[in-house]
């Protein structure tokens, strides 16, 4: 099974959860985890590992707020340990999260899902008037 874990700083994940659930309702395969200013990286890593223990063998897409920042670092290290099963993306927006939440196309591999989420996020950027 494919699962999405949203991770970020100080309420990012919780904010995305509220945002997505208001529009699309709850989704069984979406998980949310924030790094708080009290957490050190080891604590955060433990929380993530604790969650992932429940999903042995599953494919995971980490959606992190910021490239190079601490939540991303934790996700990327896990991806390095789980080649082809875990991927990380950064900087997704509501459109991309909605798609991940509502439309888990089972024909897509986790790598393709990662690519699609990035493409969708980019396509959702706009200016008005053009």
């Amino acid at each position: 099974m494919k699962r999405i874990l949203v991770m970020g700083h100080g309420g990012y994940a919780e904010g995305i959860r509220k945002n997505i659930e208001m529009i699309a309702g709850k989704s069984e395969h979406m998980y949310y985890m924030d790094l708080t200013k009290e957490d050190d990286l080891a604590t955060f890593e433990r929380k993530v590992n604790c969650l992932l223990e429940d999903f042995p063998g599953d494919e995971i897409l980490f959606a992190c707020d910021l490239l190079g920042a601490s939540p991303f670092r934790v996700a990327a290290m896990l991806c390095a340990d789980h080649p082809d099963k875990y991927y990380a993306v950064t900087g997704l927006n509501t459109m991309a999260f909605l798609e991940l939440s509502m439309n888990m196309d089972n024909n897509l591999s986790i790598a393709q899902l990662a690519n699609r989420s990035i493409d969708t996020a980019k396509a959702a950027l706009a200016r008005f008037p053009e």
Partner: protein, 162 residues
């Protein structure tokens, strides 16, 4: 002339450093010192992913850092260590730095002091305080500051609060 700044931050290279401090201090070279990270090539490449290529970035052991710090550099330099206890090992090399900025450190077993800010917390042990006392007594400017635009608490003010 190029300047060197030191930051103490247990997350080593991260968002606050890259997005805020490096542009503010006109940093060209980043020297992140952590023996464990320096020996892990995967972690090193992950940490460097978030750093724009315009910076000359090194993630090195303390020994490697000593060599780097004795070399001339063209632009300003930011040295990052995870904990104060690393500083005595590079004390000679950082004698002439502009300042030591205390950023974020999470709680550890022996940390009985805490300086809290809007964007992070810095926990210190008695040993950390002794180390920083030693550095300030040599004339190095030491202060707590998480971001360039947030409030600064200098070492003397912190000591008075103890």
């Amino acid at each position: 002339m190029s300047k060197t700044y030191v930051r103490v931050d247990d997350r080593l290279i991260h968002g606050q450093t890259i997005v805020a401090w490096c542009p503010t201090l006109s940093i060209k070279e980043i020297i992140a010192i952590d023996d464990e990270s320096a020996k892990n090539s995967t972690l090193k490449s992950i940490m460097k992913m978030g750093v724009p290529p315009s910076y000359n970035t090194h993630i090195v052991t303390t020994e490697e850092a000593k060599t780097l710090l004795t070399q001339e550099t063209r632009g300003n330099r930011l040295v990052i260590v995870k904990y104060p206890r690393i500083l005595p090992d590079i004390a000679e090399e950082i004698m002439c730095v502009e300042s030591i900025v205390l950023g974020n450190i999470a709680k550890r077993e022996d940390t009985i002091h805490k300086v809290s800010g809007a964007t992070g917390i810095f926990y210190l042990s008695d040993n950390d305080v002794t180390i920083m006392d030693g550095l300030t007594s040599k004339g190095i400017d030491v202060f707590f500051q998480q971001l360039p635009n947030t409030s600064r608490t200098n070492w003397a003010a912190f000591k008075k609060s103890l």
